[in-house]
């Protein structure tokens, strides 16, 4: 069936099967690989997208249930000059190693800054509590977000 998303700011029609998750629809139908197919169990956060303002796990949502939703992926965030400071801060603080988990973290961070432009370190940690990094880059993420917040609020 056909669903319409407001995807990264653009109305997008998608032909999906009922058994597609949102993650699978993004990857297989649109070639968007930012939301990763990782644990596929709702555990790791690599598939995080922002749906109707909330950071959620695209692997745990049926695509058909997103008809009419607003969805942002890491690709959309990266394309906006407004969020360049966040990406820059991630690079500056080297908040990644293999990088597989990074898009999920960045999307969670963006959702946090949307609702809370001046987060504390604890609030950063809490917002990222659903993202797992096997490489152990955790301490760098809060630093990057706090740094980005400083730049963005300048």
């Amino acid at each position: 069936m056909t669903i319409t998303l407001n995807l990264n700011g653009k109305p997008t029609d998608l032909d999906v099967k009922t058994n597609y998750t949102l993650q699978e629809a993004l990857q297989f139908k649109l070639g968007l690989t930012g939301a990763k197919h990782m644990c596929n169990k709702g555990v790791c956060g690599s598939c995080t997208v922002i749906k109707d303002g909330r950071a959620v796990l695209s692997c745990q949502i049926l695509a058909v249930e997103c008809d009419g939703s607003t969805v942002e992926t890491v690709e959309g965030i990266a394309a906006q000059p407004k969020w360049k400071p966040l990406l820059d801060a991630y690079c500056k603080w080297d908040a990644m190693q293999c990088g597989y988990c990074t898009p999920g973290f960045v999307v969670s961070a963006k959702a946090l800054l949307d609702s809370n432009p001046h987060p504390t370190e604890d609030e950063c940690k809490e917002a990222l509590a659903g993202n797992i990094c096997i490489c152990g880059t955790y301490p760098r993420h809060a630093q990057a977000i706090l740094d980005a917040a400083l730049v963005m609020n300048d």
Partner: protein, 781 residues
């Protein structure tokens, strides 16, 4: 990738319920639990349709109305955690919602889905239904003796009647009486058995023990030897008979005639007398017991035990009229006139006509057993042939051997693996040197000069036809003669109803009395049937059950109290012995040496009580030992919440259950619509604490919710039992007390007072205790 399904966006609760009602459908809310179960395909059935309830308007809200907090079932956990009202007045719930999983999952997961989520047991969750356990329609719990460190410390919960109990024709609650034996409560064990079987000292000796064959342990090592444990309890009952066979305290004034003093008649008599009726048992034989007394050899069932049991019934006030000829002196119509109800339990004693040449020369096996005394002193001959493959045939063959026959050959239509006799009995026959030569049918008795020299048999090719009906086929060209001086036939028994004279109209079918499925009432009001006369030749325990059924039917007919045909209840926590279950070897009865065995001495000995206890400890008490994993459940129970569905309103505590596979009592088309919480009184406080391996993502190892500062404090813990656990003991400790180090510690101790951890869950008790103490002390800060 998910397997395909149809997807429906429901517009109303009714519409969603309608789809669920059709079956093969699952409801999706946030989907965080459901999609996981579908992706891994953990359940035996995959839903054909998924009904989305997120499209139903008006199910997502948090509001206060008339002192009650109302939360729509679709409200996201994140919103509950963030609500200032919930945080301030219903603190435990806000804290519990905040403790679930991760921020992302809380932004997706709903409160309705949180309390309705499925178990997290790893066997249960293993992909592709690799472990089809009790919660999925199987019979076994893999966690009970497997990996169970996140499982229960308060025992298991049965989803249905245990396998063993279901296999018992009388429905004996085997795991229950075994747990009573373990607890040293022999009177309790006796009562549990006697609820459905008044003569365990007899049945334990003669039963085919279907329960043992069906025991789940059989898949690992040896089944629990419930025949042996029943015998221990049976002999305990005999030794303490005064306790168990009391005359009733009150008489009903009703009179019942029972025709037939076999297991069915005596079972019915016991239950009817217990309820206060006057019971008279008639039997043509000089002694009571029927097949127990006359047919089953004394080496299996000593006759004095049967006599003792009958005397106990007499002590209860049951009258035996033995040597009575129904049909001759006493007419069925007279019985009907003189008694309020009549029960026919006359068994199956008749020699069937088989129709082969020389049939008259052969001896009916049952008569042989009844008249065993006449066959002593070598009269049985040197060589004997027995025809038949059932337990009676084994009895006949072994008896013939013990009477002195040098050679006993047993043959039957069936092949070895299809012989109807129980494994135990076949093994006994072989041990005694019976030559079993299966797969032959009767051809003719061979005689020379009027003297039997053998039995000619013909090859049996098959015993049943394509439709499963008994219809043996033979190879007439494949014949042989089994030599022997006596031919004993144990190929079934017929039912003799000649005592019912022609004028007496009662519905029969193929020579059996027809009775009602539930009551055992015949076509004549007030006249009942029980045992073999109704069901055809079957088992002793089957007759006991049938007699009990009739007793209930008669009681209902007479409008008097009765002892319900009790089935095991599944509504309590059950336990097993984590050490004792490791014992792979079942209890074997001690037996006389082969040389010492005779026709009139019991072969086996009743085990010691201590041996019975050891065997009882081998029972796994098959139940689910998983825990309820929900974080919000205990908070809702502590806050005394109500769960509103499209059908009813339940107290939070009543919502939870242990089903296949769900954790709730919700019916197939039942949908949670709202949670209601009464505003806790001023001055009260509620709190929730959770311990998980990692603070984020992980399910609780233990969690605790409390409501204190109220007249009746409420304490609930989760992840320690198959259902969220409300600790009434801890509540009692705190009632009327202020919370301090001492009372908080005492409450913690009380909360774990009833635990019986699994092998790997002991540590949880310490956590539960400490967590409760800390949570309580936290409310004083």
């Amino acid at each position: 990738m998910l397997r395909s399904f149809e997807h429906k966006n429901a517009k109303s609760v009714n519409e969603a319920a309608g789809v669920l009602e059709l079956g093969n459908a699952a409801l999706i809310a946030g989907g965080t639990d459901l999609l996981g179960t579908l992706k891994d395909n953990i359940l035996p059935d995959y839903p054909g349709t998924i009904v989305n309830i997120k499209t139903i308007p008006g199910l997502e809200y948090i509001k206060e109305e008339n002192g009650t907090l109302k939360i729509g079932a679709l409200t996201k956990l994140a919103d509950i955690a963030a609500s200032p009202t919930v945080q301030r007045k219903y603190t435990a719930l806000a804290q519990a919602a905040k403790a679930v999983a991760t921020p992302h999952l809380r932004d997706m997961g709903t409160i309705g889905g949180n309390i309705a989520q499925l178990p997290r047991c790893w066997y249960f969750r293993k992909s592709d239904n690799r472990f089809p356990c009790l919660r999925k329609g199987g019979t076994e719990c893999f966690a009970a003796t497997g990996e169970n460190r996140y499982h229960s410390i308060l025992g298991g919960w049965k989803t249905e009647t245990s396998q063993c109990t279901a296999a018992c024709p009388a429905g004996t609650d085997i795991p229950k009486y075994l747990s009573q034996i373990r607890a040293g409560d022999m009177d309790g064990a006796a009562e549990t058995i006697m609820k459905v079987n008044p003569m365990p000292m007899l049945t334990s000796r003669v039963c085919a023990h279907f329960c043992q064959q069906e025991c789940n342990r059989c898949q690992k090592d040896e089944g629990v030897q419930s025949g042996a444990t029943e015998r221990v309890v049976g002999d305990y009952i005999l030794a303490n008979a005064d306790k168990f066979y009391k005359a009733p305290a009150k008489e009903t004034g009703k009179t019942i005639a029972i025709i037939g003093a076999g297991p069915a008649g005596m079972s019915a008599a016991f239950y009817l007398r217990k309820a206060g009726n006057k019971v008279v048992i008639y039997d043509t034989k000089p002694e009571a017991g029927g097949m127990l007394r006359y047919a089953i050899p004394a080496y299996r069932l000593p006759k004095d035990l049967v006599a003792k049991f009958a005397s106990l019934l007499e002590k209860m006030g049951i009258e035996f009229k033995l040597g009575a000829k129904i049909g001759d002196e006493i007419k069925p119509s007279d019985l009907e006139k003189n008694y309020d109800a009549v029960l026919y339990a006359t068994g199956a004693w008749k020699r069937p006509v088989l129709g082969f040449s020389g049939e008259d020369l052969a001896i009916f096996g049952l008569d042989f057993l009844v008249e065993v005394k006449n066959w002593m002193d070598g009269k049985v001959g040197q060589e004997v042939v027995v025809m038949g493959g059932g337990n009676v045939a084994m009895d006949v063959a072994v008896t013939a051997k013990r009477l002195g026959a040098k050679k006993v050959k047993l043959t039957c239509l069936e092949t070895r693996d299809k012989m109807p006799a129980s494994g135990e009995e076949v093994a006994r026959a072989i041990e005694e040197g019976i030559e079993i030569d299966p797969g032959w049918g009767l051809s003719q008795v061979v005689s020379e000069n009027g003297k039997i020299v053998g039995l000619e048999v013909k090859r049996c090719l098959s015993t049943v036809d394509a439709s499963g009906r008994f219809n043996p086929q033979y190879d007439e060209n494949d014949k042989k003669v089994l030599t022997g001086e006596n031919i004993l036939l144990a190929t079934g028994q017929g039912i003799d109803l000649s005592y019912l004279d022609e004028k007496y109209q009662i519905q029969l079918n193929r020579g059996r009395i027809v009775t009602d499925e539930d009551s055992n009432e015949t076509s004549r009001p007030g006249v009942f049937g029980a045992g073999d006369v109704v069901n055809g030749p079957a088992t002793v325990i089957g007759s006991v059950a049938s007699g009990h059924k009739s007793a209930n039917g008669i009681s209902r007919y007479l409008g008097v109290d009765y002892f319900s045909y009790a089935n095991a209840s599944n509504k309590e926590y059950v336990f097993f012995d984590t050490e004792g279950t490791k014992n792979p070897i079942g209890l074997k009865l001690k037996e006389l040496d082969a040389a010492a065995r005779a026709v009139d001495k019991e072969d086996s000995m009743t085990p010691e009580l201590s041996e019975g206890v050891t065997e009882a400890k081998r029972c796994l008490n098959c139940a689910c030992y998983a825990v309820n994993p929900s974080d919000t459940a205990p908070a809702l129970i502590a806050l005394d919440a109500k769960i509103v569905t499209n059908h009813r309103t339940l107290a939070a505590e009543e919502l939870f259950d242990v089903n296949e596979p769900s954790n709730t009592v919700l019916g197939k088309d039942e949908i949670i619509t709202e949670i209601q919480i009464p505003q806790p009184p001023a001055g009260s406080k509620s709190a929730f604490t959770k311990l998980a391996l990692r603070k984020s993502i992980d399910f609780p190892v233990v969690n605790v919710a409390v409501l204190v500062g109220v007249e009746k404090p409420r304490i609930a813990l989760n992840a320690i039992a198959p259902k969220p656990y409300r600790s009434l003991k801890a509540e009692a400790v705190l009632a009327g007390k202020t919370i301090d180090e001492a009372t908080a510690t005492a409450a913690g101790e009380a909360a774990v007072a009833d635990i019986q951890p699994l092998a790997a869950t002991k540590y949880k008790a310490q956590i539960a205790k400490t967590l409760l103490k800390r949570t309580l002390l936290g409310t004083t800060e």
